[in-house]
């Protein structure tokens, strides 16, 4: 009986320290949520403005001749994978890698510590990802796309739907999709349409990559908070249950001792 009580006490202690850990991680995540969502919204504004401009540009006849708009039948893919910097964020990283399994032959550019651990490439943290990093990647992607090293480029990232739900998806960026909705208007291009479009595409890719990374990071932080909340709840439940067991065992030991003493004094 004594060993049982000791074992229970050790378990309660260990679950309690896990509870502390999840609480602390949850707190860190919630303090980061506000900053991450603000940054995500700013990135979204830029992405929206960029998309609008590129959509408008793509309606001009001249721009349709750009190599960026040529859709090819090939299936060589290049994917930028945005995963988290750390684990313990529920299904956040697993969802990304599960989605990635659908594209086994793609060339991968990793962003985020977890992705960098799996794939070769420069170590880039999702939390501290800057426009300069994105521009470097975008310039390379655009150059290789024109050279014909791959046929499609996309970003595997996480859509931030709400604090409670995020969804992994692929955002295809190249070749540019022609938009049906934008209406064609004439405009003056300086120096000419192709130069303008070719100058703006690397900016567009970089802008979209930054926006995707920021959105994914907000998703990571939110996922971690929710995961830590439920882990904390589970730990508390476990402590309660173990506490009950411990008390019962202790009570049992005391009762037995009393019975033994009474039996001893009676004889």
């Amino acid at each position: 009986m004594g060993a049982d009580i000791k074992q229970l006490r050790t378990r309660i202690k260990s679950v309690d320290s896990t509870l502390h850990l999840t609480k602390a991680m949850g707190l860190v995540a919630s303090s980061k949520i506000r900053r991450a969502t603000e940054s995500m919204n700013r990135g979204k504004e830029y992405a929206a403005a960029l998309t609008e401009t590129v959509e408008q540009l793509s309606t001009y006849e001249e721009c349709r001749k750009s190599p960026y708009m040529k859709a090819t039948d090939g299936d060589r893919l290049c994917l930028l994978v945005v995963a988290g910097d750390r684990g313990l964020a529920g299904g956040y990283n697993a969802n990304i890698f599960r989605l990635l399994k659908e594209y086994p032959d793609a060339e991968i550019i990793p962003v985020g510590k977890r992705a960098c651990d799996r794939f070769p490439g420069k170590l880039l943290y999702a939390e501290h990802f800057t426009y300069a990093d994105a521009k470097e990647i975008a310039d390379r992607i655009c150059r290789e796309f024109i050279e014909g090293k791959f046929d499609r480029f996309g970003v595997v990232c996480t859509k931030y739907i709400s604090l409670m739900s995020q969804e992994a998806y692929v955002r295809w960026l190249l070749p540019l999709q022609m938009s049906e909705s934008a209406k064609s208007v004439s405009a003056v291009f300086e120096p000419d349409e192709i130069t303008v479009l070719n100058a703006v595409i690397p900016e567009y890719v970089a802008g979209m990559v930054v926006a995707s990374v920021k959105e994914s990071f907000a998703g990571e932080v939110a996922a971690r908070r929710v995961a830590m909340d439920s882990a904390g709840k589970n730990a508390q439940e476990m402590i309660d249950r173990l506490g009950l067991e411990y008390n019962r065992a202790r009570q049992g030991a005391i009762t037995q001792e009393i019975t033994e003493i009474v039996a001893g004094s009676g004889s």
Partner: protein, 87 residues
């Protein structure tokens, strides 16, 4: 003075969103000013100081690290990879 809606956007978000009287930037072919009623126009922008004149006469100056200027019928958008207002 007539005004036009101007938006200056960078990855840090929209840094200006409102009415302006005049915008001066340096395009690839040289410096240019945009006033209300400008024809639809698109040009890449070089690294330069960018002046925005507001309706009350106030002049704001910022620095852009390249970008793209789009003037369409209804609004003017300056997209910049990195943009900062000067104090």
């Amino acid at each position: 003075m007539k005004t036009f809606p101007l938006k200056i956007s960078s990855p840090e978000g929209d840094l200006f969103h409102g009415e302006a009287v005049k915008l001066i930037v340096r395009g690839v072919e040289g410096e240019l000013a945009v006033l209300a009623g400008h024809i639809p126009f698109v040009t890449p922008v070089k690294t330069c100081d960018c002046k925005v004149e507001l309706e009350d006469g106030e002049e704001k100056i910022g620095t852009t690290d390249g970008g793209l200027l789009t003037v369409s019928g209804e609004k003017v958008v300056l997209l910049s990879g990195s943009f900062a207002w000067k104090e």
